[in-house]
Structure formats: structure tokens, C-alpha cells
């Protein structure tokens, strides 16, 4: 249950930042995570009156405000056209419609949760976070940082041409994922992200060029290359056990999801 001594609607990011510098303060997104804790907070800071609930699309980028809900990105036509539906695929298995109407992109990304579908899918794109003090930094770098008192203002997705897909594995519908996988063919290379291992998602590039020229290969060569890539990429990560699955099981699932997800992109052409 959320417990706090004060609930403050910040009137500016400056005010929110000043308030958030106290150790006893917390920023509330949709409260999906905070409500699971038992800590008594001093001030809970609400950003919902700062106009951060909008997705802006230009020729160069999507700018997604911290208070945009998971349901908003699920339904956004431009974002889903750009990501070949991967955004919708990444969030549609998360609890239910009402939950996704409640929780926010800012909360999901700032939390850098080990189980995060949202962190996984955005990281494989050319994406950035805009922090109030820290400025604009690549999402895959942000994901490695420790928690601090900065404020996530926007998530920015650059609209460089890409072909991508997302998949996750769950023991049962709507549960936390056992493993998450995203892949993108971008102008600067082929990239995969594996998350829920069960630690934070990480970005890796096809450094061995296993998937080079995949779109112009024969069918047999494609199958061979994808099998080799699935084996290679799944071996580039560490896996751990928790109550949902063992490390060995996750490693196996990673190879399967890699094979299926990359195949789905290549089959589409």
C-alpha cells in the first residue's frame, strides 16, 4: 500500500527535482510499483500536471512523455507502424487493460526493472532518455546506471529506418515474463536485447556479422545463419534462477526466442 505524509502535484520540473532530492521522497507514475512496497514515504511527487502525458511525432523522432501510459503506446498508430507492431506486442501481455491504463512509460523505464518488457523493446531502437539534470543519454547506457534523484522527462525514439520484432515467454498469461527478447536490423547493424534473465535488459550488437546480408541470402543460408546467431547471441548473456525459471531454462528459451524473432523479421522481408 502507498503510505506517505504528503502528496504534491509538482508545478514545474524544477520544483519536482528540488522535492525529489530528499531521500524520503518518491516520484509516482501509475503507482503500480510503489503500492507494492511497505515504506512510509515523506513526500510523493506527482508529475501529472506537467503535460508529460503526450506522444509527439516529428519526421525525426517520437517523444514520449514520462506520464504516457502503457495503453497509450499500445494504441499509438505511428509508434506501432514504426516498430512493426513490436511496442504493442511488448505490452499487451502485461496484466490487463486497466493496469496498462494506469501505469506509465516513465515509471517502467526509470524503474529499470529486471522483468521489464518495456525497457527491452525500447532499448533495441535508437532510443534515449531525457533527464531533467542529466540531459539526453542513450537508453542502453541509462539502463546500466544506479538510481538517483534525477527525473525522467521523456523517452525519445529516433526514427532511423529499422525492421524489428519483439517476443516474450511467460509461464502463464499476464504474469511477469520468464524472458524477453527484442531484435532490430538497423542501419548501424543488427541488435538484440535480452531481458528478464531475470536482471536488467542489455543491448548487444551482432559483432560477428553472423546476420550480414541476411535479406539477400537463399533460404538454406538464412536458416543456417539464424541458427548460428541464436546460439551466439544467447551465449553472450548471463542468466540466473528465480522462482519462475532456472538459469539453464532461460538460456534455452533465449536461443528459441532469438531464432523465432529474427526469423519472423526476415520472413517479412
Amino acid at each position: 500500500m502507498l503510505r506517505c505524509n504528503d502528496y504534491i502535484f509538482a508545478e514545474s520540473l524544477d520544483e519536482a527535482y528540488a522535492l525529489n532530492r530528499k531521500k524520503s521522497a518518491a516520484i509516482v507514475g501509475g503507482c503500480g510499483w510503489l503500492k507494492l512496497g511497505s515504506r512510509q514515504w515523506g513526500s510523493v511527487i506527482d508529475l501529472s500536471r506537467l503535460g508529460l502525458d503526450k506522444i509527439t511525432e516529428t519526421d525525426e523522432a517520437f517523444t514520449i512523455g514520462a506520464m504516457v501510459t502503457l495503453r497509450d503506446i499500445e494504441k499509438h498508430e505511428g509508434l506501432n507502424a514504426y516498430t512493426n507492431g513490436a511496442i504493442k506486442e511488448s505490452v499487451r501481455h502485461i496484466v490487463g487493460t486497466q493496469f496498462r491504463n494506469t501505469v506509465t512509460v516513465g515509471g517502467s523505464i526509470f524503474g529499470r526493472f529486471g522483468f521489464s518488457d518495456v525497457l527491452t523493446v525500447f532499448m533495441v531502437t535508437d532510443s534515449f532518455v531525457e533527464l531533467y539534470k542529466g540531459g539526453v543519454i542513450p537508453l542502453h547506457e541509462f539502463a546500466k546506471l544506479h538510481y538517483d534523484d534525477d527525473i525522467l522527462v521523456n523517452v525519445i525514439v529516433k526514427k532511423n529506418p529499422l525492421k524489428m520484432a519483439y517476443s516474450s515467454f511467460r509461464n502463464q498469461q499476464t504474469d511477469f515474463p520468464v524472458l524477453t527478447f527484442a531484435h532490430a536490423f538497423r542501419e548501424d547493424g543488427a541488435f538484440s536485447v535480452i531481458g528478464a534473465r531475470p536482471s536488467r535488459a542489455e543491448l548487444k550488437r551482432d559483432e560477428e556479422n553472423i546476420l550480414k546480408d541476411i535479406f539477400s541470402k537463399s533460404q538454406d543460408e538464412v536458416i543456417e545463419a539464424i541458427n548460428a546467431y541464436a546460439l551466439w547471441i544467447s551465449s553472450q548473456y548471463t542468466y540466473e534462477s528465480n522462482l519462475r525459471a532456472s538459469a539453464d531454462y532461460r538460456r534455452h528459451i533465449a536461443e528459441v526466442l532469438a531464432r523465432r524473432t529474427v526469423t519472423a523479421i526476415v520472413d517479412k522481408g
Binding site: M1, F9, G32, D46, V95, G96, T102
Partner: protein, 156 residues
């Protein structure tokens, strides 16, 4: 803290604790359809509409509703009764404990989705748990209800 909100169209000005849960507050105002079935934002029993969108009242703090409109099942009596009759006709439910949150989400789906497929219905409602049934009766009731509502519109 001072709060001003509308519950089922009625303006309420109140003074509340900053961490008041929306769910318990709504019950304190007589909205007993709103129930807490789990502690983990998973069951959907607490579903209400905030500015016409279905949300989890167990999860969002009450203060987030300041200046906004909340709709509960108590505010949708005739529509709920109409759909409830379809549930009853199909023998869809046993204990009925989950059905207030479930009906709130079905009525939200009716407004949001146009002519949904079975898969789309299941996906929209997957956050509403029922522990007595296998959801088959509910699905029959929803399909017949949506068909009937569409028929009504067609006749207007």
C-alpha cells in the same frame, strides 16, 4: 488534503489523508461494487473509470483523481442490468464476486472496441479474474450482448 472530484456525476469536496487509496475511499462513499480481490493489481475487481477509461482503483492514489470524474458500477445501473441479464441467461457465473469489476471492463470495451473478435475480447478482459468458471459462459454472454447492442443501434 483538500480534494474535489466527481463520483458518478456528483461533485464531492472533501478533506482526505494524502495516501488515501481510491478503492477504500469509493467504498466509504457507498460504492460497494468496488472490491479488493487481491493485493497485487492483478484481479480487476476494483475496476472503475477515471475520465471514462477503465483503471485499477486499488493502484492509483485517490489524489490523482483530484479535479476528475470517476464512474463506478453504481453510476451505470441500467446498462449493468442489461448486460447482467445476458450473464444470467448464460449461467455464466457462480458466486458473482468478480462481476462488478468485470462488468465495468466489458462496458468500457463496448465503448472502445468496434466489433471485436473473440481474441480481442479475451485480450481486453484478460485482467479480470474469475475463479469459479472457465470464462466460457461469460464469453457467450458478451458476444450475445454486443450483437444485441449493435442490433439496437442498427434499428435506430
Amino acid at each position: 488534503m483538500e480534494i474535489k472530484l466527481w463520483i458518478n456525476g456528483k461533485l464531492i469536496k472533501d478533506n482526505v489523508e494524502p495516501d488515501t487509496p481510491m478503492l477504500e475511499y469509493l467504498r466509504s462513499k457507498g460504492c460497494y461494487s468496488v472490491k479488493r480481490g487481491c493485493e497485487t493489481s492483478n484481479c480487476g475487481l476494483c475496476t472503475v473509470w477515471l475520465e471514462d477509461k477503465p483503471i485499477l482503483s486499488c493502484t492509483l492514489p485517490l489524489m490523482r483523481a483530484d479535479g476528475k470524474h470517476i464512474t463506478t458500477l453504481e453510476g451505470l445501473q441500467s446498462e449493468a442490468e442489461e448486460f447482467g441479464a445476458f450473464l444470467a441467461d448464460e449461467g455464466a457465473e457462480q458466486c458473482g464476486f468478480c462481476n462488478s469489476g468485470f462488468i465495468m471492463n466489458v462496458l468500457a470495451m463496448k465503448r472502445e472496441l468496434n466489433d471485436p473478435t473473440e481474441e480481442e475480447i479475451k485480450e481486453y478482459l484478460t485482467g479480470n479474474l474469475c475463479r469459479c468458471t472457465g470464462y466460457v459462459g461469460q464469453l457467450r454472454a458478451i458476444k450475445k450482448y454486443l450483437k444485441s447492442v449493435k442490433g439496437d443501434l442498427g434499428n435506430e
